[in-house]
């Protein structure tokens, strides 16, 4: 008899737990990122993206790395 919003959050939380298992399966050493419950776990990925990921992709020119010139042979 939970209200719809609670059921939605519970479903998002279950989905988060499954996601954490998958994301953590890639950790090979103790410096690798770990994933788990945090303040966003009650949001579905779609809700999270809509609310918190507000930047658009952008194009920038390639950085002109300093040109390396060969040093001529000198005696």
């Amino acid at each position: 008899t939970w209200p719809w919003s609670h059921r939605r959050e519970a479903a998002a939380l279950r989905e988060s737990l499954n996601r954490h298992r998958y994301l953590n399966s890639f950790s090979h050493d103790n410096s690798s990122a770990s994933y788990g419950l945090n303040q966003f776990s009650y949001l579905s990925p779609e809700e999270f993206k809509a609310l918190y990921l507000g930047s658009k992709p952008a194009w920038s020119p390639r950085y002109p790395a300093a040109e390396q010139k060969p040093i001529p042979n000198v005696s």
Binding site: R19, L23, A33, S34, Q39, S55, K56, P57
Partner: protein
Amino acid sequence: LPLRFDWRDKHVVNQVRNQKMCGGCWAFSVVTAIESACAIQGKPLDYLSVQQVIDCSFNNYGCSGGSPLSALSWLNKTQVKLMEDSEYPFKAENGLCRYFPQSQSGVSIKDFSAYDFSGQEDEMAKALLNFGPLVVIVDAVSWQDYLGGIIQHHCSSGEANHAVLITGFDKTGNTPYWMVHNSWGNSWGIDGYAHVKMGGNVCGIADSVSVVFV
């Protein structure tokens, strides 16, 4: 390059803020970079108004999203003076742009530059050292579940959806990483920061890198 460098150690980076339920990361990253650029020049480390950028940067969409490059371009073209945060506080929703008299003190930018540093992250580290914290855009979909450690997988280049600020790097361990200042409050990640592996353009962190000059 030093093995480790962090602008926070120079006391020129403000605390991580919380964008709440407003997709204004693009404005947070730009404003935090401007605050640091001012402090690097010896001015006080003040909090400037993110809300002013959200409300007034007409080429963006406020809390519905935007681009740091468009915001920098707008700041540069209009020479708008950014007010202090206390004068024009953050309210996590779009508002009407407030205008201030020219006599009012504030910070305007002198210029900015933006480059794709993919494949050249050591050059990117040099830019960080020479100019200050870097505004970058990343694919942060998997950051929803991040707790700590060095992000090395589960994100792509070329699919940016979030803007953040790089304040430093650490190459002392087996996995070198960027120190990434986020805007989701300091209870997220490592006191509000994420660590992202250096090299390999992880999460597209080197795809579009901006520096601001004040």
